[in-house]
């Protein structure tokens, strides 16, 4: 069978998982079915007849537990791959019913909390890494390397803070939904 691979790029921020799911669903409707997620917003698609498919993204900082993956597979979801902590899942949307991996606000909140924890712990981790490098190579100080490190560190802090803020907004919205 000759598969026609189509590559497309589209960048999504980490808080735009639902937008990404909707976009992948729209691509399937138009006959481009995700084969594999790539790095930095690059996606590989296989051409075929247009179809109604549900795409769902899950987040696990470390590799998702095997029994967890198995349970989602048992429920009929196709494992498309994992990138940067995100696992991509797909399932046929049969006649009007949209399948879901998370069916209550609490479990969706927990997914975003896992994502948030990654951003919050990244700052001190990066800081400690920097200190370790300077300690190992004292000759680097003071030099262009220190400036580069500080600039990168500050940029990352700002990026992580924006991500954390947007993810917190999602969590708060879900929390309002959680109680009757």
């Amino acid at each position: 069978m000759n598969e026609q691979i189509v590559r497309k790029s589209k960048l999504f921020f980490s808080w735009q998982d639902e937008e990404q799911e909707a976009w992948l669903g729209e691509m399937s409707r138009r006959g481009l079915h995700l084969k594999q997620p790539g790095w930095l917003g690059s996606f590989q698609f296989v051409e075929g007849p247009g179809k109604e498919m549900a795409y769902r993204l899950d987040y696990n900082r470390n590799k998702a537990p095997e029994d967890y993956i198995q349970l989602i597979k048992d429920a009929g979801w196709e494992h498309l791959g994992a990138r940067g902590g995100w696992t991509y899942w797909r399932k046929d949307a049969v006649a009007g019913s949209i399948p879901e991996i998370f069916t209550d606000p609490d479990s969706k909140i927990q997914k975003y909390q896992r994502l948030l924890a990654g951003y919050i712990t990244s700052a001190p981790a990066l800081y400690i890494l920097g200190l370790a490098i300077f300690k190992r190579y004292p000759g680097l100080h003071p030099s262009w390397f220190v400036i580069l490190y500080v600039v990168l560190f500050m940029s990352w802090i700002i990026f992580a803070a924006i991500n954390a803020f947007m993810i917190l907004r999602r969590i708060n919205k879900l929390k309002k939904k959680a109680s009757v």
């Binding site: 029994d67 198995q70 349970l71 989602i72 048992d74 429920a75 209550d104 479990s107």
Partner: protein, 107 residues
């Protein structure tokens, strides 16, 4: 008087109620999802992510315990504490239901 460490879990969410109800016999996650869909007559459906999260929470609270693991599928069953929570939930729902039946004719 039912103890506080039982009543603090009440009322259970519909999904949690059906999960505990299913676990009167040991069962794995997908088995529960199918059973809940069936016995709730389609009114409650539990996604696999939610199912897994519920397992971790209920296990942490000591309401269920893992009894078996084979081929990456973990089976759980109710603990004594889980059984007490479920019994009290059912008792409360019977009261709720009786009260509902009392007024349903006037609605």
């Amino acid at each position: 008087m039912v103890e506080k460490n039982i009543t603090k879990y009440l009322p259970l969410s519909e999904a949690t109620y059906y999960i505990l109800l299913s676990l009167v016999e040991p069962m794995h996650g997908y088995g529960i999802m199918q059973k809940v869909e069936r016995i709730s007559e389609g009114t409650v459906s539990i996604g696999p992510g939610t199912m897994y999260g519920a397992f971790s929470n209920l296990e942490k609270e000591g309401l269920i315990a893992m009894v078996k693991e084979e081929e990456r599928r973990k089976s759980y069953a109710l603990t004594e504490k889980g059984r007490q929570v479920l019994v009290e939930q059912i008792r409360r729902m019977e009261i709720m239901s009786r009260n509902g039946q009392g007024v349903v004719g006037q609605l």
